[in-house]
């Protein structure tokens, strides 16, 4: 049940060459529709006039699957199956031109159906079929074929449920009398039940001159709701996701189960963010599918269809005609045909009738593939969604900062950052350099080295170290492209030398290469070079090389995580732990501690809270008694991370215990990294107090952080202090204390002006805090001016900026800003407006304007709007 093969759900032709058990197992959504169909069938058991059902839905909504499921039910052992027999027509096999063909087809599929259960009758029917088809247009062909069918039904003692796909094409290709002739049977012959599908409600169903007018019990297969999407996703991907996380996928696929299955299979265990980023490559993988669908259309229809997709938003006939460069009249009739095919959808009536592609994802595919400037709009939307839906439902700016303060990775700058990111950089770096400076046999190396070795080693180290330093400097100054060849030359030139001190530098150089590729976002290349490094040094017994290999593995896991492949990432990291946990060397313990901590964060990304905490506990239990500060940093961070999880689970008491333990344990440390951990923990203590409504204690803690650590010369600590002030301001705003908010804000401003260390997100955060504080203080014009400058500097591709814009605008609305003026600002720059289109659409809807936008944008906007409303309600 768990193998990927088993989870694969049939995307095309479900039920064909598939066992009934499989169909039943794979049928995970649309149970209600199934219930309705089966009810109708049950009602037909005794009646002299049967209800016939037509399931209507565009491509991919699950019609065939539902048919297959009903067929499976009619073949299983139950009351219904004793009374009815399914007769499934092949999907594409309409060779029906008149009523005679129809009955011959029925006879044919009926014989197939009973081959196993009643081989004799099956053979008999085949003979009749061959006989009748042999007599080309013989007399009373239709009647005789029909008689054979009815006769078989009598013999079997079961009614026949004819399952026919694409009724509209069937009705298109047949002669004029077909419909009435079929209706005659359907009206008078209780042995025959029709269960059909159609991609749209074709016109003849509603034309009161036509035979099928009002004849069918209609069943619309609506798009899947979020809950159904969630269930289907769970079955296919194996991942249990929340409704909020499934929402963007529901929107992008339009609740179309086939598209959802395609996406879910592709998703693997990628995080939502990654999945969204890589949606484009999903589209590439399925180019055949998308293109095949296009090619199936006749050229003129295709042209109209492409124009509609290109316009993306619902568009009028004349707009489509203009885009297709065709005349309105022919476009209008071609649109009618496209609707009949179920590939285009119409809404509204008369001149206001608008058309758009019925299946989502196609427009996205088309726009991205054409790679015109317009694809940007798709990318922007996807980025918007991936930010919006990874956040909790009603995040405010304050929440954003709370989460970032608690989150991972720790912010580092300069050399600090390099030390964190190239594991053991510091240790190895110091060691390598000191070895160069002092050419003595390394205490850790093999001490057998002879005198001649020594001088050779010395020479080599003198040659290698300038390159090593050059590479590092290039790397640290951000000049990645120049750094790579330098590191590569180390590997190339010294790669074969078996002297430990040289080997270690080569090993580190190759880890650095992988690391740089990771930073550049070339994850595949990064992993390839990590693998190469592991391959080359994996068997080494030299302790420092072993440490580097272990660290390299942790790096690899991190890159896999960046790739969104959390399953492999976890695997890699778990192997590191397993392989090296018994190694007593301090540096190795550091690697293992890091690995476990990292593992916890990966589990967290998968939403596996219990396992996440387990990993942190592991770090705490194993390493608490370690004497090395470098290892203690991981313990402290594990404790704080754990508290964050506990806060998210609402377990404030436990969280508090965990955080306070960090402070009491490491409060007196002089080690800057540990101090940063302490500040972070204290910040969380404040957050917890705040969430419990204990404002006094919260503010007291915030004050204490600033007082106690303001003088510490550590970039990291300073950043946390800035954040503390931001959060404090936000709390004052939440409490409605405008004076306090404003004065804290001013303090913050001075700090930042004095060159207080800040990263982009702190500066941005401050700007937003200022807007809020001003708004609260009734200085709306000043607030709007500040907002305007945020917008002015807004970089649509900066995720932090986008995320803050998402929560910031709704926070402003909660504080009663003039929405019209905010909207004007938001729309003032075309490119930025594109990136923020769901917010803009949401605000327009709030202001009662009618908006036309792609359905995907509208749906996201509706969610944005809901957030705005709920936030406002929560405040009042």
């Amino acid at each position: 049940m768990d193998s990927v093969q088993d989870r694969m759900i049939r995307k095309f032709n479900p039920g064909t060459f598939q066992s009934d058990e499989e169909v039943i197992r794979q049928f995970t959504v649309r149970e209600r529709e199934l219930g309705i169909v089966l009810d109708v069938l049950r009602g037909n058991i005794k009646t002299p006039s049967c209800q016939h059902v037509l399931m209507v839905a565009p491509r991919g909504r699950g019609k065939t699957m539902l048919l297959a499921r009903v067929a499976a039910e009619l073949r299983a052992e139950n009351e219904l199956s004793r009374k009815m027999l399914p007769v499934r027509f092949m999907e594409e096999s309409h060779e029906v031109f008149d009523i005679a063909d129809f009955w011959l087809e029925t006879l044919f599929y009926l014989s197939k159906e009973i081959v196993r259960s009643d081989p004799d009758l099956a053979r008999e029917l085949q003979t009749v079929h061959a006989d009748l088809t042999g007599q080309w247009r013989g007399e009373f062909l239709a009647e005789r074929a029909r008689a054979a069918v009815l006769d078989a039904s009598d013999k079997l003692g079961r009614k026949l449920v004819l399952m026919i796909e694409n009724m509209q094409t069937l009705c298109d290709d047949v002669d004029e009398d077909f419909g009435w002739q079929l209706r005659e049977t359907l009206q008078t012959e209780p042995q025959v039940i029709l269960l059909g599908t159609a991609t749209s409600r074709f016109e003849r169903l509603d034309d009161l001159r036509e035979p099928f007018f009002g004849l069918f019990r209609m069943l619309d297969l609506k798009p899947l709701d979020a809950e159904a999407c969630r269930r289907l996703w769970q079955v296919v991907s194996g991942d249990d996701v929340s409704e909020r996380r499934i929402r963007p996928l529901q929107i992008l696929t339009g609740g179309n189960p086939r598209l959802l299955v395609i996406v879910a299979e592709f998703a693997g265990h990628r995080s939502l963010r990654k999945l969204m980023e890589e949606l484009v490559s999903l589209v590439d993988d399925h180019t055949e599918y998308f293109r095949g669908h296009l090619e199936a259309l006749p050229p003129t229809e295709r042209r109209v269809y492409l124009a509609a997709m290109d316009l993306w938003q619902p568009s009028s006939t004349s707009e489509i005609a203009a885009r297709a460069r065709m005349d309105v009249r022919s476009v209008s009739s071609l649109l009618g045909r496209l609707i009949d095919r179920g590939v285009v959808m119409a809404q509204g009536t008369g001149r206001k009738r608008l058309y758009s592609a019925a299946e989502r994802l196609y427009s996205i595919y088309y726009k991205v593939r054409r790679e015109r400037g317009e694809a940007a709009i798709v990318h922007y939307l996807i980025r918007f969604m991936s930010m919006f839906y990874t956040k909790q439902e009603l995040v405010t700016m304050a929440d954003t900062f709370r989460m970032e303060a608690a989150g991972f990775p720790i912010i580092k700058e300069g050399l600090d950052r390099a030390r964190a990111e190239i594991p053991h950089f510091g240790y190895l770096y110091d060691h390598a350099v000191s070895s160069v400076a002092e050419p003595e046999p390394s205490s850790m190396g093999f001490s057998k080295s002879s005198l001649s070795d020594l001088s050779q080693r010395q020479q080599l180290l003198f040659r290698i170290s300038p390159k090593w330093i050059e590479g590092n400097i290039l790397y640290l100054s951000g000049n990645y492209d120049a750094a790579i060849p330098v590191y590569a030359s180390i590997v190339e030139e010294f790669g074969r030398i078996k002297i430990p001190d040289v080997e270690i530098l080569v090993a580190m150089a190759s880890v650095s290469i992988g690391h740089i590729y990771d930073r550049k976002g070339d994850y595949d290349v990064a992993i390839a070079s990590y693998d190469e490094m592991i391959e080359r040094f994996g068997k080494s017994t030299e302790p420092r090389v072993k440490v580097t290999v272990a660290a390299c593995l942790v790096n690899k896991g991190t890159t896999q995580c960046h790739q969104g492949d959390l399953e492999s990432a976890i695997n890699t990291i778990e192997n590191v732990v397993k392989q090296y946990e018994t190694d007593a060397m301090t540096q190795m313990r550091e690697v293992v501690a890091r690995a476990l901590l990292t593992l916890g964060t990966f589990k967290g990304q998968l939403g596996k809270r219990a396992e996440e905490i387990e990993s942190y506990d592991e770090v705490i239990n194993r390493f608490s008694s370690d004497t090395k500060d470098a290892v203690q940093v991981f313990v402290a961070n594990a404790m704080t991370n754990k508290s964050v999880v506990l806060i998210e689970c609402g377990d404030f008491e436990e969280a508090l215990v965990a955080c306070e333990a960090v402070e009491s344990r490491y409060g007196g440390t002089g080690e800057p990294e540990l101090m940063a951990s302490v500040v972070r923990a204290m910040l969380n203590v404040g957050n917890i107090h705040m969430q419990k409504g204990d404002h006094q204690n919260a503010i007291a803690i915030f004050n204490r952080i600033v007082e106690d650590y303001d003088k510490v010369e550590s970039v990291e600590v300073q950043i946390y202090i800035t954040r503390t002030l931001i959060i404090k301001t936000l709390y004052f705003i939440e409490l409605g204390k405008s004076e306090d908010a404003l004065s804290t804000c001013e303090k913050l401003e001075r700090r930042l002006q004095d060159g207080g260390k800040a990263q982009n997100s702190e500066e941005l955060g401050f700007a937003w805090v200022k807007v809020m504080a001003l708004l609260l203080h009734s200085q709306e014009q000043d607030a709007l001016a500040s907002f305007n400058s945020i917008y002015h500097d807004f970089d649509p591709v900066n995720e932090a900026a986008l995320s803050m814009m998402q929560s910031g605008v709704s926070d402003m609305i909660v504080l009663g800003v003039s929405e019209r003026e905010v909207l004007d600002v938001l729309q003032s720059d075309e490119r930025k407006a594109q990136a923020l289109s769901p917010i803009i659409v949401a605000m327009k809807m709030r202001l009662g304007e009618t908006v036309r936008a792609p359905a995907e944008v509208i749906e996201v906007a509706e969610d944005v709007m809901r957030t705005m409303e709920e936030k406002s309600n929560r405040r009042t």
């Binding site: 009602g43 009398d177 002739q181 009206q187 409600r201």
Partner: protein, 408 residues
């Protein structure tokens, strides 16, 4: 009574129509041949079936022949034969008369086989004779017999398309008439039913007299009370609870009681509840379903169709203009009054020959095609759905007729 959409209903599932049944029953017992007409899906087949069922309980013979699939009179006779089949005394007698075609005894074959064999024995030359025999046998029965020919007009229209179709139609109708005149004493009664008008068809062919012996009966919609009662009955028998105001709200929306529409709406409501995991149908759902299902994309075809059919049906641009005026007025003002009709005649006098006559003709067509119906004070839309839609579609620029000067 269970909810049924599509097929004809009888017995438990058949609702009301007591007045109509009483009239029809009386006519039939009096030996009148009946022409049953009515809009599509009004319940013609159902009422015919129910009438037959009741008559059967009273020792009548009931033969139901659905002839919508027939391509020639031979098929019609064969379909009647199939209906006759269960009455063994007739079917075996008839099989003897057509002995050449019956090798096995009729006990061994099914009704449909019987029909097939009869059909095989009929030709252009012999159908009149054999058909006559068959019906005569029926009339000879000790008990009276009702034969229903359902959808006869569909068959006739089809035949009309064939070569020499006009004459074939005439032949068939004359044969039927001649035959029926031979049976007296009400022992054999024919009921013809269908949605498209038999009367206009024969009138066009100039052979109206071929059907003038029929007693015409037009089946109309249920009234408000009956509709609401029907909905309540459906609700009682549904697995989904239905709030008490729902029936009323549905009628408000439909504004007419076409049985199929009532059933369709009801099924949509319960589906809606099931799909939304609601255990009951609430009054609010009525509007929701009305707007999304009936007025929404699904229902729009139906309405759009009314529009295109008008264009087809009226061909002439002037007629079309007049029709659009009438419908716009009726949709925005609820009623197209007699006063408005007179005023419209005056307005169009300068540009249309015989404007008042043309207007009456167009009104007739609109009425016949089911757009409008007579009501106190003039004409109104037959369905609220259509009226709402029409008003939204064409009502915007409509200036009420009495406020207008002459057209140029």
């Amino acid at each position: 009574m269970k909810s049924v959409t599509g097929p004809w209903v009888s017995g438990e599932d058949f609702f009301d129509r007591e007045n109509e049944l009483q009239i029809l029953d009386q006519r039939v017992r009096d030996g009148n041949h009946v022409l049953l007409t009515g809009q599509r899906r009004m319940g013609k087949t159902s009422i015919a079936m129910e009438l037959g069922r009741r008559l059967q309980a009273d020792e009548w013979g009931f033969l139901f022949a659905d002839v919508e699939g027939a391509t020639g009179p031979e098929d019609v006779i064969a379909v009647i034969a199939e209906a006759v089949y269960p009455i063994r005394s007739i079917s075996s007698r008839f099989a003897k008369a057509m002995h050449r075609w019956f090798t096995e005894s009729i006990e061994e074959i099914s009704a449909y086989d019987f029909r097939l064999k009869v059909r095989a024995g009929l030709s252009e030359e012999t159908w009149q004779q054999h058909g006559g025999t068959l019906l005569r046998y029926c009339a000879d029965l000790a008990n009276p017999v009702l034969l229903v020919l359902d959808e006869l007009p569909i068959f006739l229209k089809r035949m009309l398309r064939q070569k020499g179709g006009r004459q074939k139609v005439d032949e068939f109708l004359s044969w039927l008439r001649g035959l029926l005149q031979q049976f007296s004493g009400g022992s054999f009664v024919l009921m013809v039913s269908g949605s498209i008008g038999l009367t206009p068809l024969v009138r066009r062919l100039g052979i109206s007299d071929r059907i003038n012996y029929f007693y015409p009966f037009q089946l109309g919609p249920w009234n408000r009370e009956v509709t609401i009662e029907c909905l309540n009955r459906l609700a009682e028998n549904s697995t989904v609870k239905v709030d008490s105001g729902v029936a009323n709200a549905v009628y408000e929306r439909l504004d007419t009681g076409i049985p199929h529409q009532v059933q369709f709406f009801f099924a949509r409501l319960t589906d809606h509840a099931l799909m939304h995991s609601q255990d009951r149908v609430a009054v609010e759902d009525v509007d929701d379903v009305y707007h999304n299902d009936l007025l929404g994309p699904a229902g729009q075809n139906y309405l759009v169709h009314y529009e295109s059919r008008l264009i087809d049906g009226l061909g002439d641009d002037q007629d079309l203009t007049i029709a659009m005026e009438i419908l716009a007025e009726a949709s925005t003002k609820d009623v197209f009054t007699l006063e408005a009709q007179r005023q419209l005649g005056r307005l169009y006098l300068p540009i249309v020959d015989n404007a008042p006559d043309r207007i009456s003709e167009v009104l007739d067509i609109l009425e016949h095609e089911g757009y409008i119906e007579a009501c106190g004070g003039g004409r109104r839309f037959t369905s609220r759905l259509l009226k709402d839609w029409w008003a939204a579609r064409f009502g915007n620029n409509h200036v009420p007729i009495e406020r207008r000067g002459p057209v140029r």
